[in-house]
Symmetry: C2
């Protein structure tokens, strides 16, 4: 598994889950809801999406305390056709709304072969790949996208932050472990820029531009007003835009100018939009047969000749699986800064500290 | 509209359609089939995807003559659930198989809200955006993807051409014209490389690599064995792979090693895989209301402040619409090389030449 720097502390994933669960209980979530959210957050950590895991706990707790997230939502599902539904998250934790959407989509796809479920009145739901993978665990192909909870990109050619780094996740059941793509539509995440700023490292060319000059922004202390660049230029910007229309506008949720920045405005309601698709493999081929074919096709790629200097060809989902196995065994590798932050949270909430 | 060099000749789109139709009739397609394929090909030209339009006619005719494409397919639709179906293209023209998939998906989505239709035993079907846009014209959101008809990329880190530049198209109905994303998962198409080679122009860094050294390939006369780079590095390679599994493997069609190169092997059957999704907007919001919201969200982006040197913010579908309007009025802008090639085809087939 990945080697971590000495600044990482290993924490049993169960302990981290318990801690997150207690924190959510303290700010008013039901035991069931707290369990569900904690589970989904730790799944993000386990699979290597640390920026969407327990790292977000203090922020979520803060938003709940400020009244910007409803701790006891009445999540409603409206089935609008045999294969479509809209989930109203009632401004609860996004994890709960999306988990409900996954459940509904899988049920509808069992009946109809495929289902598309939109979500509105939701919030940041953590790691995209987690939800797609939940669907793959049911023998279905899972797709997830969301309107990102802040705009850090411009339209292609634009100088205003009006586009989010709207993520796309696709999970496909295979033998052994699923193929899982989980990508933001920017070259790097805003979290990566924040890390560079903290460490006073120069930002590589091609990641961020100055909206006034259009030039690459490389000085870490000038990144505050910078725009992230979309992955693959106009193609990534276009994909971010289409996903924004599908996850936001189609569900009556904000996209573009109307998006609330959940970092800048911790007290404001976000009304985040998301969607999930579940596609029942067995309507196309027997599941076991498909999984064998997919694994064989992927092995053909994994075992192909490598470019000089490449030790191993890793396909989407390979590293995720290895990390998950490693961290389940050895514990989550959390940074010492995060552990300190969580100790402070424990004091604030008067719960048992972690680690 | 776009300015064309003096080497372009304007041909009325109806004349081009007639010509393609006659050519297909001569190699055995029925009048209906010939009409349909010609229509879809000219739609590609009209919307600016010239590399997927009448430019392909000689190649298609050649494949039909060699027996690699069935001119009179018995296209069968198996509805495997209320919202899923598999289209067997019977090795006919890909345009016919995918048009059937579009028709079936729209019908199923009218009933069930969404539909996912896979295609196998198909062939190259031209421009991805054409099919997504057909669905948008029905007031639905359209998605299309395909296994590209040749492998010009490697797995991320790989040195063998095992991945296609598998395209993704999404079309969303809006006021005025639809938002249409139509992108290959490579930085540039193989056709662009071929053009640079013809013109003996150096290939820009970041487009293609030498599979032996892994270094950028910039000399036009060394591009024959080169690998196209995926858009956005591992993200684009990952997306190409997932689309390959969805359009190929899931439909029992080749992906990876098994893909037949339709340029290199004009006599071999391709068994191309594709899929389309239709999502009925009206199951989420009244169509007119959604189209107004989407257009307003997009106008917010179009009218936003621009980066220095940018005259206009163009969103996915804007240029496509303008080209289509312009070329419907003024004619298709075809290169003189293409006109010569089509004259030769006319002689071969003993039909009236174009232009």
């Amino acid at each position: 598994m990945t080697r971590y720097s000495s600044a990482h502390i290993l924490i049993a994933s169960e302990a981290a889950k318990q801690f997150a669960c207690e924190a959510f209980r303290k700010v008013g979530l039901s035991q069931d809801s707290a369990n569900s959210v904690a589970n989904l957050m730790i799944e993000a950590d386990l699979s290597g999406a640390a920026a969407h895991g327990i790292f977000r706990l203090s922020q979520y707790v803060n938003r709940i305390k400020l009244g910007a997230i409803n701790p006891q939502p009445d999540i409603r599902v409206e089935r609008t056709a045999a294969a479509t539904a809209i989930v109203d998250g009632d401004n609860g934790m996004g994890h709960l709304a999306v988990a409900q959407a996954v459940k509904t989509a899988v049920e509808q796809a069992q009946e109809s072969g495929v289902a598309w479920v939109g979500v509105h009145n939701s919030n940041h739901a953590g790691a995209a790949g987690v939800y797609a993978t939940m669907i793959a665990a049911e023998g279905m192909i899972g797709i997830y996208s969301a309107v990102a909870s802040a705009n850090h990109m411009g339209a292609w050619g634009g100088a205003e932050p009006l586009l989010g780094t709207n993520p796309l996740a696709i999970a496909i059941p295979c033998e052994g472990w699923p193929a899982v793509l989980d990508v933001a539509t920017s070259v790097v995440s805003y979290g990566t820029i924040k890390n560079y700023r903290l460490q006073k490292r120069r930002i590589p060319v091609g990641w961020m531009i100055d909206p006034n000059s259009g030039a690459d922004l490389v000085e870490p202390d000038e990144t505050a007003g910078g725009l992230l660049l979309p992955v693959g230029g106009y193609k990534g910007a276009g994909l971010a835009l289409m996903l924004g229309l599908l996850a936001g506008t189609l569900n009556g949720a904000p996209f573009g100018k109307k998006v609330v920045d959940f970092n800048q405005s911790p007290e404001r309601v976000c009304d985040t939009g998301q969607f999930v698709v579940a596609l029942d493999v067995s309507r196309f081929a027997p599941l076991a047969e498909f999984m064998a074919s997919a694994s064989s096709d992927l092995d053909g790629l994994r075992k192909s000749r490598r470019l000089p200097g490449i030790e191993e060809i890793r396909l989407p989902g390979d590293e995720r699986y290895r990390r998950r196995q490693g961290q389940l065994r050895e514990g989550l590798a959390l940074t010492s800064e995060l552990i300190s932050q969580l100790k402070e949270l424990a004091r604030d909430l008067d719960i048992r500290p972690l680690g």
